[in-house]
Amino acid sequence: MKKQVGILVDTTQCIGCMACEDACADRWGFPHTDVHELSCEKNTVVQQYGQTYVARLCMHCEDPTCASVCPVGAIHKTAAGPVVYDVDKCMGCRYCVQACPFQIPKYQWNKPAPKVTKCDMCYPRQLKGKQPACVEVCPAQARIFGFRDDLIEEAKKRIKNNPGTYIQHIFGTTEVGGTSTIYLAGEDFGKLGFPTNLPKRALPKYTWDIMEKIPDYFVWGSTLMAGFWWLTNRKKKVAEYEEQLKRGNAEPAELEIKEQTSGGNDAE
């Protein structure tokens, strides 16, 4: 398998200069604002938790929930790693907004032809051989772009070399089956606004447990229904026939029965 790219965010390094927010806004053509909340005009933000600045962006999950729930496949994970959105397919059901465990996809609520907006790890820039805009401008190397495997190695190395600085967990290595954006932190992730109740299992699997049974269910179920039809139909026919017999309107079907019971074929 081709190696996938990712972004390592080291929250202990971030100085809160917001350069990434502006670079991201320029990349998308969004206005520069001082609102540090993800929205349809903000695909990355930096939020302050006490002394710590935490960058928010799409986690680019290994098995993305948003992509699995999209009925038309408007979101997909590219072979390279970024999870990207195609507005031409989208029908606007907002299941992705509802299902994302990190509440990343946002919606253009006030447009008559709205889009879903989310970070795409600057996939178009990557195709041109460039880094994501936010990574490129970061003066503190709080965001590093590279192959995910290498980033995990780097993160482990940082934890090992500075055991006092970091807690012993790389966020994104185990959560919901793993993410391509991974985080290092100096305090509990729960205190930095990260969801802490996420299962290790990729969320799409919870649905797939049921969905995968549908083709079999359809085949067996229809057959069973047809069988029920046949059985009850037969029962009804027999009942009608017996009713006729009682009234003396029909001949007993003796011949048929005799053929079956007194056949001498066994003697051969």
Binding site: T65, V69, M91, R94, K106, P114, L198, T207
Partner: protein, 413 residues
């Protein structure tokens, strides 16, 4: 000439204004204004939806409840055409009509909720079998087509196209089997929508049983809707189903609700919900309300023969089942998520007005069909004396008291 006819009918409609007509008129005017705001200024201008609460009553009520309440169509058609329970034949038509109207209105409502409704056909060519929504799209589309076929004889007969009705009748068994399969799939898929959010849904409503719970509760509430309709249409146009059939239908609801209750108790044990059950926060109270109104009360009423065999009693039992069902769907789609998202969602007046307009369309269309098409047994008998085979008419010995009864208050006399 045609214009004159239509025009004079419209003039007549407005000149003979009644209370319900004026209610309909108000709902439609308000609904149309909301429609304008929704499509010109976007979802945000018309609704209380946001990034923190992306699905509101247009999904929770219009779709989740609409599809579920229309389940009578496949339950009754399946019972009659697959299981040969001929006893229920007189209710096939009202049930199928409800289902057909229900599904058409659900698709109509979806056009409001979808951000890009002009792409509603995309699931046809852009496949993602991993998504329950994809499965829903296909099943609803196919099943609406099946229902159009099942419903079509009522229209054909109205225009005396007996050949066409005959052709549909010949295909009815495979059609109904297909309908039952598709229904069981998408009724349960509505529950599967929430399987992907184990970390968001409040524990009282999150269970791997969600698809089964959604299916069984739909089986329970479908017949309850048929009972309610028969009651209401007997008041409105003195057309109804005979009580013995409806009582028996009530038993179906009771049995389905009992199975449903067992599954929910199983969840309480498997997911260790007892601490949540006796925490009387909003979720806890609404959970108990849902269980009591939608399950315990209707089962209790329906197992008592004196209530079940009494028109008014049966009607209220069905009404409880339906209200509890609606509460359950609203709980799953709204209540269960509010805590996680940290917001309190309540629909805007525009969301409500669109929903009410759609419900009003449903009532109007049902009333029109009940008046003009051979939906209820005695009107079938009038239109179709020769075709007893395709539609059995239960002849009552003395139907005078039944027909003459203006309301059910008469029972007390």
């Amino acid at each position: 000439m045609l214009n004159n006819g239509v025009l004079s009918k419209i003039v007549y409609w407005f000149r003979h204004m009644t209370f319900w007509k004026s209610v309909l008129l108000v709902l439609v005017v308000a609904g149309l204004y909301s429609t304008y705001v929704r499509f010109v200024y976007g979802l945000g201008a018309a609704t209380n939806l946001s990034d923190k609460f992306p699905w509101g009553i247009w999904i929770g009520f219009d779709v989740l409840c609409g599809v579920g309440l229309a389940a009578g169509g496949f339950v009754v058609a399946g019972a009659v055409y697959v299981f040969h329970l001929d006893y229920y034949k007189p209710i096939v038509r009202p049930a199928v009509l409800t289902a057909f109207l229900g599904y058409v209105l659900v698709v109509f409502a979806l056009m409001f909720d979808l951000g890009r409704p002009w792409n509603i056909w995309h699931p046809l060519v852009m496949w993602n079998p991993h998504s329950p929504m994809f499965e829903l799209a296909w099943c609803v589309m196919l099943y609406t087509t099946v229902l159009a076929f099942e419903f079509s004889p009522m229209v054909f007969e109205r225009f005396h196209l007996h050949k066409a009705a005959e052709v549909v009748h010949k295909m009815i068994v495979p059609l109904v089997i297909l309908g039952v399969m598709l229904s069981s799939l998408h009724q349960s898929s509505l529950g599967s929508l929430y399987l992907v959010m184990p970390e968001k849904v409040y524990p009282l409503w999150y269970t791997g049983n969600l698809p089964f719970l959604f299916f069984i509760s739909a089986v329970a509430v479908g017949p309850a809707m048929v009972i309610m309709e028969s009651f209401l249409s007997s008041r409105a146009f003195h057309r109804e189903i005979e009580m013995p059939i409806l009582s028996k239908l009530g038993k179906v609801t009771a049995v389905a609700l009992a199975v449903y209750l067992v599954l929910r108790i199983e969840d309480m044990i498997n997911y260790h919900l007892f601490s949540y059950l006796f925490t009387f926060n909003t979720e806890g109270i609404l959970f108990w309300a849902e269980i009591m109104i939608g399950v315990v009360i209707p089962i209790t009423m329906l197992v008592i023969p004196r209530i079940r065999n009494n028109k008014r009693g049966l009607y209220y039992a069905a009404l409880f089942a339906v209200m509890g069902f609606v509460l359950n769907r609203m709980n799953v789609s709204v209540t269960s998520l509010e805590r996680h998202y940290g917001v309190a969602y309540f629909p805007s007046w525009m969301e409500i007005s669109v929903t009410l307009m759609i419900v009003a369309f449903g009532f109007g269309a049902f009333a029109w069909a009940a008046k003009n098409l051979a939906v209820f047994p005695e009107s079938v008998a009038a239109n179709e004396p020769a075709r007893g085979e395709s539609f059995e008419v239960v002849v009552i010995e003395d139907d005078a008291p039944l027909r003459g009864e203006p309301s059910f208050g008469m029972q007390a006399k």
